[in-house]
């Protein structure tokens, strides 16, 4: 597709369940970011990939969060043993260049996770 695609758009999980969120960036985009947006807040950085290399994971809130981009294109954000505080919209963004220079960062529509 033409834009960043994320799936599922909506996910309801029971507390303790594992979830996996998928991001298909724009073809050829080198940089890929994951952000977490809680209700009423701005997006908060989680992790950054340059091709398949995860160069920054300083924003991951706990070791229950894991992200991968094994072939440098599609990325998966996995959350193990979900907690209610994990409820948020998870946004994926990609950029043709390095690290979204000059604002050329394209966001997907997000995956809304609700943990009951």
């Amino acid at each position: 597709g033409a834009g960043v695609s994320q799936s599922p758009r909506y996910k309801v999980a029971k507390r303790g369940q594992d979830v996996a969120l998928r991001c298909d960036p724009i073809s050829g985009h080198v940089s890929l970011f994951w952000y977490q947006q809680a209700l009423g807040q701005g997006p908060e950085f989680l992790t950054y990939f340059q091709n398949e290399a995860q160069l920054d994971k300083s924003g991951l809130p706990s070791d229950r969060f894991f992200a991968e981009r094994p072939e440098g294109s599609v990325s998966t954000l996995k959350i193990q043993r979900t907690q209610q505080e994990d409820s948020a919209v998870y946004l994926c963004a990609s950029s043709r260049g390095l690290a979204g220079i000059d604002g050329e960062l394209f966001f997907g529509e997000g995956s809304r996770l609700t943990v009951l």
């Binding site: 997006p43 908060e44 160069l55 690290a99 979204g100 220079i101 050329e104 997907g108």
Partner: protein, 114 residues
């Protein structure tokens, strides 16, 4: 610690008038600033940006002003149109190297009324 602050959660402006959205930041290491616009159920889309070496950048109806000494920036929309109704996020970045992640504010919801 909120390094980028948007203290007005909402703003209502009449069509044709000027909309002014404000943003303050605390980290003096930020050197690049961006505004994103977000419609419901969509991801944020890039609107306009400004480097710290400038104090103004204009693109059509949108102008961003940067006051480094006050650590303040603002987005002006003139004239405002109903289609401008959205949530606007201010974001800041430190450096242009790899992993220059964005730090976002909490957003301002703009409502342009007829």
């Amino acid at each position: 610690d909120q390094q980028v602050k948007q203290n007005s959660p909402s703003l209502s402006v009449q069509e044709g008038r000027i909309s002014i959205l404000n943003c303050d930041y605390t980290n003096s290491m930020f050197d690049y600033f961006l505004w994103y616009k977000k419609y419901p159920a969509e991801g944020p889309t890039f609107l306009i940006s400004i480097s710290s070496i400038k104090d103004k950048n204009e693109d059509g109806r949108f102008t961003v002003f940067l006051n480094k000494s006050a650590k303040h920036l603002s987005l002006h929309i003139v004239p405002s149109q109903p289609g401008d109704s959205a949530v606007y996020f201010c974001a800041a970045r430190r450096g242009t190297g790899t992993a220059s992640k964005l730090t976002f504010g909490t957003g301002t919801r703009l409502q342009v009324t007829l």
